[in-house]
């Protein structure tokens, strides 16, 4: 009886620890599966360049939503998905441009602070067969996850070519 209770007491913390450790991971995985925060560089119809938004892969489409605007891309129209690596200034946009005029070269110094990003390039065809290309940037490490989701949903993807990504 004593041995049994002792083993229960020993196992209980293990279960608790496993639950504590695994639940955020599982939650994170679930979160990763549902949406990706992206920048739309170019290529989607009716979406502005450099629009921030979210990408969601469903059974038969990739949906980009930026506020009220949405753009759907049929998975079966995707001909190729390729990932790449790049980097960007941490302080970007108009403020980043203005820092270039900051005194004593401080703007240049700020340019040294850069964050690594992933790029995802999607080649797709419209209903007439016309070629389109959509480019997204994502936080580092997420492009391959999104690509694998697209491939799992039925998108075609060529093997990764051995080429140098441009240094930024």
């Amino acid at each position: 009886m004593l041995k049994r209770t002792r083993s229960v007491f020993l196992l209980a913390p293990l279960f608790v620890a496993a639950a504590v450790v695994s639940s955020p991971m599982a939650h994170a995985q679930d979160k990763a599966i549902t949406t990706f925060k992206v920048h739309h560089v170019i290529g989607l119809q009716a979406i502005q360049h450099n629009a921030k938004g979210q990408v969601m892969v469903t059974k038969d489409s990739l949906t980009f939503s930026s506020g009220p605007t949405k753009s759907d891309l049929a998975i079966n129209s995707i001909e190729d998905v390729q990932t790449g690596a790049d980097s960007q200034r941490i302080i970007g946009g108009t403020l980043g441009a203005l820092t270039m005029f900051a005194p004593y070269g401080s703007g240049r110094f700020l340019s040294l602070f850069r964050s690594k990003i992933d790029t995802l390039t999607i080649e797709y065809r419209d209903p007439n067969g016309g070629l389109h290309g959509a480019i997204f940037t994502l936080p580092q490490g997420q492009a391959s996850m999104l690509k694998s989701q697209l491939v799992a949903a039925g998108a075609k993807a060529s093997p990764v070519p051995a080429q140098e990504a441009p240094k930024s």
Partner: protein, 185 residues
């Protein structure tokens, strides 16, 4: 003797100037004159243009560059208002266009550069992409060809070179093609 050499100085100087003019200025001037006398090529009239996918056979070009260049070319050429119809690569409707011109773009050079170097040093880290453009008619006959370089030299991330490329292709289109005829009311 000294006086004679002083008198000769202007003559030598004038002779030198004339020689310089004969050697350097005259060939350049004749080239300019020849260019001016040669009539500029007549603009091409076409109602439809199909832009083929950008090829990079001998050059390692990242996929995002390739597609960004293509999208920027489409956007910028559309703004020129030289064609009634602009078709993308593989568009089935292009087969029905009467006077279709096809634009083939082949990447001949790519320098990745570095945005960080550009922003820190201003002078180093230029990103550039060189592309050979060929315009052909429906029978495959060459109508025009150009070499265009898209680059980002001072400000901007590397992909900005693709936007510059699109702008330059649009400039070539403006130069080589006649504007659209206004539609009759």
């Amino acid at each position: 003797m000294k006086l004679r050499s002083k008198r000769c100085m202007p003559i030598f100087f004038a002779a030198g100037v004339l020689l310089f003019a004969a050697l350097f200025i005259s060939p350049q001037w004749s080239a300019v004159a020849a260019q001016a006398s040669a009539a500029p090529p007549a603009p091409i009239h076409a109602s439809a243009l199909q832009i083929e996918q950008i090829r990079a056979e001998d050059v390692k070009l990242p996929a995002e560059f390739q597609m960004a260049m293509y999208e920027h070319v489409i956007e910028e050429v559309e703004k020129t208002r030289r064609f009634q119809h602009l078709y993308r690569d593989g568009d089935r409707d292009a087969a029905n266009a009467a006077d279709l011109v096809t634009l083939k773009c082949t990447v001949t050079g790519f320098k990745p550069g570095s945005a960080e170097k550009r922003q820190v040093t201003t002078v180093a880290g230029k990103t550039s992409v060189t592309v050979h453009l060929v315009f052909t008619d429906k029978n495959g006959q060459k109508l025009a060809e150009n070499d265009v370089q898209g680059k980002v030299q001072f400000f901007g991330e590397n992909l900005r070179a693709t936007f510059d490329f699109g702008k330059k292709v649009a400039a070539v289109v403006r130069q080589d093609f006649a504007p659209m005829k206004p539609a009759k009311a």
